[in-house]
Each structure stands twice: as structure tokens, then as C-alpha cells.
């Protein structure tokens, strides 16, 4: 019996011309001659992936899936292909989802890609089917404690440029109010470091009693978990919980919404339960003490991070902070708050740029930057460490250099408070 095949070829060349994406479907047999249900059975028998079989094909997800805007993709389509017998395990589809949660928001049957993706990916990783560049990020994280592959001892190097005290807990030897979990990109990435410097200066100006783990901190691992490396995540969680448990503090403040998600929902499962806030939530009640005096006469739009907004329900704190900056004109993009589109970095997307590029017509970050430009923004304000680098690259690649700036909210606040 002839089995149904994936309808898209990786590459199709006709008369020497390489055809992209969905144009290739004409070269595959169109007639469906079998529904090989063993594939769907196999996928939905993976704990966490059961709900893929619940899809009743309404297509609501397709309309809100950011990946669909740059490709031929949605949970509905993934279900149908799987029902036809196409192996999700072997399909690029498995790695294109950024776990942005927009589909789950609208899904009447609660087909939960946030559970399905890590569950199926974990299986694929175990079977050695993960894309090579993702494996590199996993290996870096395992070896160095960060996906960038930077030396662990350089994790606190950014502190020098802060020019304000950034106490490291192992040297403080006293309880602090706030344990600031800095995370990898804010520690190592040049633009991430700029935001860390800004936030360190804000903390100092506000008189916050804080400390960081310094070289004792490793990646929170949440995106590695969503990308299918649960074992690695568990290792990182256990390490970070062990380190944090050494010290006394009232609460954790994180720079990274992905770390926020891990501390809120995952670390408690491993015994790490502390009050946690994203830094925008921590700062929002302190607006009056921040002395935001320098005006910023710009049109600013805000990109809601998936893991702060849709995943964890915080939409106001970042906006309250932006609105407190004198002169700042906050304009909302069409897709904002609950409907915000993803930057493409979540769920492992951060480490799959080349892979994703082969299956999409555009980067999600480029799509989002174009939306910011369309709504007339001078500055695209962000508050997730993945975004500054992604969006700055996208500004350049879409030819909007000099037209749109990308700034972390911490940077905008520090600017207005004349701290940078």
C-alpha cells in the first residue's frame, strides 16, 4: 500500500531554478492513498502530547500562528499531516514552533502546543533527530552553563562597565532583599549587557538591597526545556536551586521572561520555591522614586514578550513604566498584548535561526520590526533579552537602520533617570 508522503520537498529545482516552500507541493503525489494512523497514535501516546489528537480542524490557530505568516504552518496543519501519517518526529515542523502560546489562547479544544512541543521534541532529541545548531546550543549550555558558549568565569564581566556596586552573593555574606537572576544574554550579549548596566544603575539609584549569583548562576534552562532537552533543564534547575538555597533573600527578580516562567512554574517542582518578579513588575510600583526627569520625545511601541504576556499574564507593568517617561508617546501595534506576535526566539527558536530560515520566507523578528515601522514607531521597546539582538538584526535586514531603534525598557528608564 502506498503511503501518504509529506507534501513539501526540502528542495525542488526546476530548470535550474530553486523553488521555495509551498510551491513544491505540485511535485508530490497529490492523492491521499492512506491514513497511517500509527503515526498519530505514536505521537499522542507521548505523555504531554495527547491533546494533538483533539484537533477538530476549526483553523483558529492558523489565523494567529506567527509562523504561518512566514510559512505554511499551524497546529491544525501539524495535526492533519500527522493524521495522514507524516512523521512529526522527522519533520521540520517539529522545530518551527516558538511556543508563543497564541494558538492555545484561541484553541476551543485546548490542543496544547506548550505541552506537545517539548514532549515530542524530547523524544526526537533522544532519537538524535534534533537540528545540529540546536544541539550546539544544548552542548554549550551543558558545558558552560550558557547557550552562547561563553566562559562561565566571564559571566560577571559586564559588572565592570556598570560603574555602580553589583554585589555578588558569595561575597556579600549577608541577607539581601532582592536576588537578581541576571541570565545568560544579559550577562554575555553586548546589547544584553547594556540593559544589565542600566538595570544595575536603576537598582542602585533606588537603593535596592540586591545581589547576584555571579559565576554561580547558570542558564535557567526554560527554553532548552521547551526545545526538548528536559534532562539538561533538570540539571540546570538543580544547580541553580542549590546555589540559591545557600543565600538569604526575600525575592527573586529576573531580567528574562523565560527565567520568570521557569521560576514560577517549573523550579517549584524541583524544590525551588521563591517569590519571583520580572524586573518590570518590581520597578512599576517604584516609578515615583525613579526621578524620570529627562524627556524622551519619541514614538515608542512595545513588543510584549510571549513568556511575560500570554504565558504569565503581565501586560501592564512594562506599559506603566514606559508611560512614566516624560515626552514618550506610546503607540500600540496592531498585534499587542494578548495578540502580540512572537520575535521568533522562544522554544529554541533563538538557536535555530539557519534551520528556520530554510523553511520560512522571513524571520519572525523581521515581520515584527516591519509592524513596528508600519505603526510609526521610532523606538521598539523590549523587555526580553532575546529580543534586542533579534530585532536589531531585523532592523538592519529589513533596511530600517537609522529609522527604528530597539531598546530595553531598562535602558529607556535609565536614560530618562539620567543614569546612562
Amino acid at each position: 500500500m502506498q503511503k501518504a508522503k509529506s507534501i513539501e520537498l526540502e528542495v525542488a529545482v526546476v530548470n535550474g531554478i530553486e523553488l521555495p516552500g509551498h510551491w513544491n507541493r505540485m511535485f508530490e503525489p497529490r492523492v491521499i492513498s492512506e491514513y497511517d494512523l500509527s503515526v498519530l497514535d505514536q505521537v499522542t501516546s507521548i505523555p504531554g502530547a495527547e491533546s494533538l489528537g483533539y484537533c477538530y480542524q476549526c483553523g483558529k490557530c492558523t489565523a494567529v500562528c506567527p509562523v504561518e505568516t512566514v510559512g505554511d504552518y499551524s497546529p491544525r496543519k501539524i495535526f492533519r499531516k500527522t493524521q495522514l501519517g507524516v512523521s512529526l518526529m522527522d519533520s521540520p515542523d517539529l522545530w518551527l514552533c516558538t511556543t508563543c502560546r497564541n494558538c492555545l489562547r484561541v484553541c476551543p479544544k485546548e490542543v496544547n502546543m506548550i505541552d506537545i512541543m517539548p514532549a515530542v521534541r524530547e523524544q526526537a532529541v533522544l532519537e538524535g533527530k534534533a537540528p545540529a545548531e540546536l544541539l550546539t546550543a544544548f552542548e554549550n549550555t551543558a558545558r558552560y552553563g550558557n547557550p552562547l558558549g561563553e566562559p562561565p568565569r566571564k559571566r560577571t564581566e559586564w559588572v565592570k562597565s556598570a560603574e555602580v556596586p553589583v554585589p555578588v552573593m558569595s561575597q556579600v555574606k549577608a541577607p539581601v532583599d532582592v536576588l537578581w537572576f541576571v541570565e545568560c544574554y544579559p550577562s554575555y550579549h553586548p546589547r544584553g549587557k547594556d540593559a544589565s548596566v542600566a538595570l544595575a544603575r536603576l537598582f542602585n539609584a533606588l537603593g535596592v538591597e540586591f545581589g547576584i549569583l555571579g559565576t554561580e548562576e547558570k542558564c535557567s534552562g526554560d527554553s532548552q526545556r521547551m526545545a526538548g532537552e528536559k534532562g539538561l533543564f533538570e540539571m540546570l534547575a538543580e544547580h541553580n536551586i542549590k546555589m540559591l538555597s545557600k543565600y538569604q533573600f526575600n525575592q527573586i527578580v529576573v531580567t528574562d521572561p523565560h527565567a520568570f516562567n521557569a521560576f514560577l512554574h517549573e523550579y517549584p517542582k524541583y524544590g525551588g520555591q521563591w517569590p519571583v518578579q520580572h524586573y518590570t513588575q518590581f520597578l512599576a510600583p517604584l516609578i515615583d522614586q525613579m526621578h524620570l526627569t529627562r524627556p524622551l520625545n519619541k514614538k515608542v511601541t512595545f513588543h510584549d514578550p510571549c513568556y511575560l504576556g500570554r504565558h504569565n499574564g503581565e501586560y501592564e507593568a512594562p506599559r506603566d513604566l514606559l508611560k512614566a517617561i516624560p515626552g514618550l508617546d506610546l503607540v500600540e501595534m496592531g498585534h499587542c498584548r494578548e495578540t502580540a506576535y512572537c520575535c521568533g526566539g522562544g522554544g529554541g527558536g533563538m538557536w535555530l535561526d539557519s534551520f528556520t530560515r530554510d523553511y520560512t520566507s522571513q524571520r519572525l523578528s523581521e515581520k515584527r520590526v516591519l509592524e513596528a515601522v508600519e505603526y510609526g514607531a521610532d523606538i521598539l521597546a523590549v523587555t526580553c533579552p532575546y529580543e534586542v539582538s533579534r530585532f536589531e538584526d531585523a532592523v538592519k535586514s529589513t533596511g530600517n537602520g537609522g529609522r527604528l531603534e530597539v531598546k530595553d525598557i531598562a535602558e529607556l528608564l535609565a536614560y530618562s533617570a539620567e543614569l546612562i
Binding site: 500500500m1 507534501i7 497529490r30 492523492v31 491521499i32 492513498s33 492512506e34 491514513y35 494512523l37 498519530l40 497514535d41 499522542t44 489528537g53 483533539y54 477538530y56 480542524q57 483553523g59 491544525r76 492533519r80 493524521q83 495522514l84 479544544k109
Partner: protein, 355 residues
């Protein structure tokens, strides 16, 4: 003259039973006439279990069937047909004929017609499903007989089917066939049957090919979601257009519309979800009682609107169940109660007018 204190109920399916019981419980005499040798109607005769709760039909209907048989005010006439009617509200003179051909005349004050539907005959289908050619093409009714017997096998060879497909909307929603209505219950029954097949044959692959799934109210999660989520029934949007014999299997051909691709898949057994048409009894009663039919051929209600589902255009004659159009059992029983209430109210009003 006050008129007769009796209500004639024609047809002893769920609607007629509920109407007779209602009339009798309200203190009037119910004359319940049924052409067949037992009461219970189409579900009781043909369906192993009820939709949507999957209860065994005879067990579920036992209470209402017994109540009718035992009620002192219900005069049940089995194997009896209504062959003539004269007169009007309060004074209908109806002629009944039993199986031996002997006739009796009864005077009744009001009438409830509950003569139901018949299943669409797939021989009239334009898509060539081959019901009369292929042993392994069945209808929902044939499948129920298998459930009753407790054995699901391919009629062609007696083997257990590995792959079963339901085809929805057979004889419904089709202008060419002349049935421009949705039969309302077939999506639910196919889903219910797919659950039963999976319960009896857990390894079977079951597919439902549909144009739209129409699972009203609680049927949505009671059977549709249950079939898909718990029993892994495969719903494929796109209807099958023809069935061709391929070796000892059936090749079903259609379009998988959510994929936008043609589909040709082998099956061991195909079940046609045949819809509802007015039963022969319904058409006969329309003639005998001079009841106008609505444009689809079922008996018309008084104003055709949604606010009075049981009054006909003839004063004193009411409807219950699928004689008025496709109905599920819930609606049928509800109509039986409403028709009883209106019939008794009619008798009471006539009595008051005279008094």
C-alpha cells in the same frame, strides 16, 4: 355537545408513547394505535443503544413502554391502522382496521399524529455508494443490528473489520435527491456507533467522513469529543463520492478538504449515515386527516414557525416527533408532552364552551 373525551394517538414510538402517557396522566382517555406488533417505534425496533447516552435501548425505554401498557386510561391497539377519518375537532370519527381486516369506528375529540420517519433508502443515492452491490456497505441501521447481536463482522467474509468508514449526509442535504434538509441525528449516531465499534474492536481504525459535523448542544462533548479524544476516532472533513471494489476491500474516493487533496483509501467496511424521510405512515395520515405538508414533505405545523411545534393546520390535530421533520428523541419526547397538553386543553375548552 361537548364531544368525545378521548384523544387518538397514531403511532407508538417515543413521541406517541409520551403523548398517550401525558393524555392519560391528565385524566383523559388515550386511544393509542400502532400498526406494528409492539410499541417503542424506530429506536426500540432498530437501535441497540440510544444517542447520546449509549444506554441500551430496551432498558432505557422500559419504564415508558411499561407505563403505557399498564395505564388504565390508555387503550392500546397493536397491529391496527387508521384507515379513515371524518368529522372535526371534538367529533372525529375514525375508522380503525386490525390485521384480520375487521374495522371499528371510534369517536375522538382530538388527535396526535406521531408516525415518525423512515430511513433514507441508499439505493436512491446519486453518488454510487453501491449499497445493494457491495456486502460490506451498510447503513446505520444494519450496524445497529450487529451491535444488538454483539458481533461486528464484514458481511462479505465474516471477518472482523480492521478499517471502518462512516459516510455522513447520505440522502440528506441534497437538492438532486430532493431532500434539502439535515437529518439532525446522523452525526451523533455515527459518533455513537464509532464509540461502540471501538469498544468492541479496540484495534479497529474508524473514520468519519463529513461535510460539517452537526452535534447539537451537549452531544458535542458527550459523543463527538468523546469519540475523538477517548476513542481516537478519526474525523476527516470531506465527503466520499464513490466506492469501488478493489480486491476484497472497498476503495473510497473523495476529497480531504482540509488538506485540499483528493483521497482514495481502502476500507473493510463502510457505514452509510442514512438520513430521515417522512415515513409511509406519516404520508398516509397526512392524506387521511387532510393535513397539509410543508415544502420538504413532512406534515406542516400551523404556522411553520418555531413557537408552536405541535399544532397542525387542522384544528384538534397535533404532531409529535419526526412526522413534523427530522427530530432527535429528546425533541420527539418533548413534543409528545406538548401535544398531549394541547390535545387535553382542546377537550377541556370544548367542554367549557358547552357548559
Amino acid at each position: 355537545m361537548a364531544g368525545s373525551d378521548t384523544v387518538l394517538i397514531v403511532g407508538a414510538g417515543p413521541g406517541g408513547i409520551e403523548a398517550a402517557r401525558g393524555v392519560a396522566d391528565l385524566g383523559k382517555r388515550a386511544l393509542l394505535v400502532e400498526t406494528k406488533g409492539d410499541i417503542g417505534g424506530t429506536p426500540y425496533e432498530y437501535y441497540a443503544t440510544l444517542t447520546p447516552d449509549l444506554r441500551e435501548t430496551h432498558e432505557a425505554m422500559h419504564e415508558m413502554v411499561t407505563a403505557v401498557k399498564e395505564h388504565p386510561l390508555i387503550d392500546l391497539r397493536l397491529n391496527t391502522r387508521v384507515v379513515n377519518s371524518e368529522g372535526e375537532i371534538g367529533h372525529f370519527k375514525v375508522t380503525l382496521q386490525d390485521e384480520s381486516g375487521s374495522r371499528t369506528e371510534e369517536e375522538v375529540g382530538a388527535i396526535v399524529v406521531a408516525t415518525g420517519f423512515q430511513h433514507f433508502d441508499p439505493g436512491r443515492e446519486t453518488q454510487m455508494y453501491g449499497y445493494y452491490e457491495y456486502d460490506d456497505v451498510l447503513t446505520l441501521v444494519d450496524a445497529e443490528q450487529m451491535f444488538k447481536a454483539g458481533r461486528i463482522v464484514r458481511p462479505s467474509n465474516g471477518e472482523v473489520p480492521e478499517r471502518v468508514a462512516f459516510i455522513q449526509c447520505v440522502g440528506s442535504r441534497d437538492r438532486q435527491i430532493g431532500n434539502q434538509w439535515c437529518s439532525k441525528v446522523c452525526c451523533g449516531i455515527a459518533s455513537k456507533q464509532s464509540i461502540e465499534i471501538k469498544r468492541m474492536l479496540p484495534n479497529a481504525k474508524v473514520f468519519i467522513f463529513y461535510i460539517d459535523m452537526r452535534m447539537y448542544g451537549f452531544w458535542e462533548d458527550m459523543i463527538y469529543w468523546k469519540a475523538q479524544e477517548e476513542y481516537k476516532v478519526n474525523y476527516i472533513r470531506g465527503i466520499v463520492t464513490e466506492i469501488i471494489r478493489k480486491g476484497d476491500k472497498l476503495l473510497i474516493k473523495g476529497e480531504d478538504t482540509t488538506m485540499g487533496r483528493p483521497m482514495e483509501v481502502l476500507m473493510d467496511m463502510v457505514i452509510l449515515s442514512v438520513g430521515m424521510e417522512p415515513s409511509k405512515g406519516t404520508l398516509e395520515m397526512a392524506n387521511i386527516f387532510n393535513l397539509p405538508r410543508e415544502e420538504h414533505g413532512f406534515i406542516a405545523t400551523k404556522d411553520g414557525g418555531p413557537l408552536d411545534t405541535v399544532s397542525t393546520k387542522v384544528p384538534g390535530i397535533f404532531l409529535a416527533g419526526a412526522a413534523a421533520g427530522p427530530k432527535d428523541i429528546e425533541d420527539t419526547v418533548s413534543m409528545g408532552g406538548a401535544a398531549a397538553m394541547k390535545a387535553v386543553a382542546t377537550l377541556n375548552r370544548l367542554a367549557l364552551e358547552v357548559g
